[in-house]
């Protein structure tokens, strides 16, 4: 046994030491991360550990192994909720990645700087609203009775709010709300990322005969790949936790939207209607696993965590 231990240990140090850049550390650095670390432990790590504890026990505190996971997975609302969220995520992530990057590229290269700043500000404004307020805005937008776009809704065949809220339309509605509130902020971030690309690179591309599309596709987008991965990870994590939008729509539609449309709502029902906090924790662990897998794939594919050595 000892041979294993001694031979593994040096291997680890070999990987760790020479490749990484040496950095100067000091108290200031520790001080800066201290605040975040305290909050992370209190509101991130501790609740996660507690959720694992709950998910592996029952309400009498007995160890249940994987039984809680099996129990919630067999719930008739589990699969529909995860299918709903999967459909929503696919639509939302595709829309987010394609549109924010496209808009950022256009704003960066094809529009006068002054005008571009105005557009970036306008796109960002809805994001400044709290989630609840933005849902309320959309409740009005989507009700043919009061919507400023009621003509459009009627033309699309929606004569009542109830018709708009048909089960098949819900993922689209949530994508609309999420895009409207969330995409503006990411457009600003992507614009900033594009600004980081040295002008010489773009100039060289132009000299070599690359047009705007070619430049965007072959130079700009590959160079902001990490940012796109970063955005996707955060948007995925936020998207799996969809709660406020369906919950408010459920109330506003007088119950026409299922109270367990998203997994997070199902967890909420488990905890606060059944009083089954253990089952709720098991659902949240499922969501955590989903988020970690997605993040893991994206991080390993995009070199997000490799540190560039400065020349």
């Amino acid at each position: 046994m000892t041979t294993v231990d001694t031979s593994v240990a040096p291997a680890v140090t070999v990987i760790a030491s020479p490749v990484r850049r040496r950095r100067r550390t000091g108290p200031a650095g520790w001080l800066f991360v201290a605040g975040y670390t305290v909050l992370l432990v209190a509101f991130g790590i501790f609740p996660t550990v507690y959720a694992f504890y709950l998910a592996l026990t029952n309400d009498r505190g007995q160890f249940t192994g994987l039984n809680q996971f099996v129990k919630v997975a067999q719930d008739y609302r589990f699969l529909p909720a995860f299918l709903n969220i999967a459909l929503y995520l696919v639509m939302w992530l595709v829309a987010l990645v394609v549109l924010t990057v496209a808009v950022a590229v256009v704003l960066r290269g094809r529009i006068r700087p002054g005008l571009s700043a105005i557009f970036r500000f306008l796109y960002y404004v809805p994001g400044a609203l709290a989630g609840v307020a933005s849902v309320l805005v959309w409740l009005f937008m989507l009700d043919p009775g009061v919507s400023p776009a009621s003509g459009l809704l009627h033309a699309l065949g929606f004569d009542s709010f109830a018709a708009v809220l048909a089960p098949g339309d819900l993922p689209v509605i949530f994508v609309l709300i999420a895009f409207w509130t969330g995409a503006g902020g990411w457009m600003v971030v992507m614009y900033g990322a594009l600004n980081n690309i040295p002008d010489e690179v773009l100039e060289a591309a132009r000299m070599d005969g690359a047009g705007p599309w070619r430049t965007a596709w072959n130079i700009q987008i590959p160079m902001i790949r990490k940012w796109i991965a970063y955005m996707t990870i955060l948007a995925f994590a936020a998207g799996t936790q969809l709660f406020v939008e369906p919950q408010l729509l459920q109330t506003a539609s007088l119950g026409r939207v299922s109270p367990t449309w998203s997994p997070n709502q199902l967890a909420y029902v488990y905890a606060f209607q059944k009083g089954d906090f253990n089952g709720a924790a098991a659902i949240s662990v499922f969501l955590l696993a989903l988020g970690l897998i997605c993040a893991g794939v994206l991080v390993s594919r995009s070199d997000l965590f490799t540190v560039d050595d400065e020349a």
């Binding site: 041979t3 119950g255 606060f272 009083g275």
Partner: protein, 458 residues
């Protein structure tokens, strides 16, 4: 040992470790089921009040409609210390109260002393949420209220309060279903007021032909099934015992109503838009000729929302089926008052609830039809509750109050959920009720199972 073999040895050990952890996780583990199932409490322990503190402040949670009554009690009893909080009152299937009580059970304090709630709330409040907790509601029959008072409530109106032989709530109001009609319009059109469902159906088809656009009802609200299917004595939710639920929507009492409604929906004299849905009042209020619905429709729907002028609306019914001698009707809501078993001032809490539900002083002017029979008489004697109507509605409401069908059980889950998110979207999408009945039944059964009911066969 070569590095490679060592590596594979380590991997093997890791695999074994992982497999054995999985094995432990899967076997010899306790059940994941909650410790309480409906009716699972066994013999209920005798009620043990919390330590009492005379004259201490009590917290009262009420909906905004009953706020005035609580304030009136405070005015009449200045010595009582009340902290009054307004909340949604558990209306429309809200689970706010249940959510909060679950949290208070976990933290061990914070419970309100007196709450206004829906009948659905009594099903969880009458049983402990977990082995450590105590049932939220205090049993009124455990010396809090004399039996004579409990006997004074309208027939069957305390049924939803009862669990294991104890009474955990006092019913504030009942919402017996009657047929509301606009007398002015009916006279204008020269129509007879229907007395049976068959006449109602025939009239609906006539209205569709002669006065298209006019409506004789709606099935689009979260509670329309209680107005129609409950009135039809459809066994959608019947508790065989505290743990066993039977739901049979293929029963002829259900299909006859579905067929009738489908015909009228197709004829367009019955709408699938809810009376309470956005913009209905604005666009269609003047087109409502009749509505089968609860006693509170008079004041809250026609007067409040539709702004129908006084002297036009009248009530009849409840409607019967041809060849049936018994009159049965539905019930749409009706709140209850509960006292917390954790309160330190049972005396004031009980006195408040008794005053609110049974005193003529409060109930004669109450917004909705009182469940306490003597108070209901006083309510009907109050001209303010009747002068809005074209005819005297007293007899119709009194008759309906005692005719509420008791086969529609008060379950641990709200009957509105399956109706609103399975049946209503299907109707909006243009499907018929008859073809949606099986789906509705599946939704009810699925929901019943998750709260721990066993499903009885036919």
């Amino acid at each position: 040992m070569s590095p490679r073999s060592m590596k594979s040895g380590a991997r093997r050990r890791l695999t074994i470790a992982a497999l054995s952890v999985t094995a432990v996780m899967l076997s010899a583990c306790a059940t994941a089921e909650q410790s309480t199932a409906p009716g699972g409490g066994g013999s209920p322990a005798a009620f043990e009040p919390a330590p009492q503190q005379d004259g201490s402040q009590i917290t009262v949670w009420t909906d905004s409609t009953r706020l005035k009554s609580v304030q009136a009690y405070q005015a009449a009893h200045p010595e009582a210390k009340l902290n009054v909080v307004t909340y949604d009152g558990s209306a429309d299937g809200s689970t706010y109260l249940q959510t909060k009580v679950q949290l208070f059970d976990r933290t061990g304090n914070g419970w309100p002393d007196v709450v206004f709630a829906s009948t659905t709330d009594v099903t969880w409040a009458s049983q402990p949420a977990n082995p450590q907790a105590k049932a939220f509601a205090a049993p009124f029959d455990a010396g809090l209220v004399p039996q004579a008072t409990l006997d004074g409530f309208a027939k069957g109106s305390l049924d939803p309060c009862k669990f294991n032989g104890h009474t955990y709530c006092l019913r504030n109001d009942i919402a017996q279903v009657v047929l509301w009609y606009n007398k002015k319009l009916m006279d204008e059109f020269g129509y007879q007021v229907p007395e049976t469902w068959e006449q109602y159906e025939a009239l609906g088809e006539k209205v569709a032909k002669e006065h298209p656009g006019y409506l004789i009802g709606s099935v689009g609200d979260t509670n329309s099934h209680e107005s129609y299917f409950w009135s039809s004595q459809c066994p959608a939710l019947s508790l065989v015992d505290a743990r066993t639920l039977k739901s049979d929507l293929s029963d002829k009492n259900c299909t006859r109503m579905a067929t009738l409604l489908d015909k009228l929906i197709a004829a367009k004299s019955l709408t699938t838009q809810g009376f309470f849905s956005q913009s209905f009042a604005k666009d269609n209020a003047s087109k409502v000729l009749m509505a089968n619905g609860p006693s509170w429709y008079g004041k809250y729907l026609f007067d409040g929302a539709f702004k129908v002028p006084a002297g036009q609306m009248a009530a009849t019914g409840p409607l019967k089926w041809d060849g049936e001698s018994t009159v049965a009707t539905g019930n749409v809501g009706g709140g209850v008052w509960m006292v917390s078993s954790h309160t330190a001032n049972l005396k004031t809490a009980t006195d408040l609830v008794t005053w609110l539900t049974t005193s003529n002083e409060n109930q004669a002017g109450a917004p909705t039809y009182p469940a306490y029979s003597a108070a209901a008489k006083a309510w009907l004697a109050n001209p303010e509750n009747k002068q809005y109507f074209a005819t005297d509605v007293s007899d119709v409401l009194t008759k309906a109050a005692d005719a509420v069908w008791t086969g529609w059980s008060n379950t641990r889950f709200s009957d509105a959920t399956a109706w609103s998110n399975v049946v209503l979207p299907a109707l909006t999408a243009g499907r018929t009720l008859t073809e949606t009945l099986p789906q509705w039944q599946t939704a009810i059964i699925d929901e019943a199972k998750t709260v721990g009911y066993t499903i009885a066969g036919k």
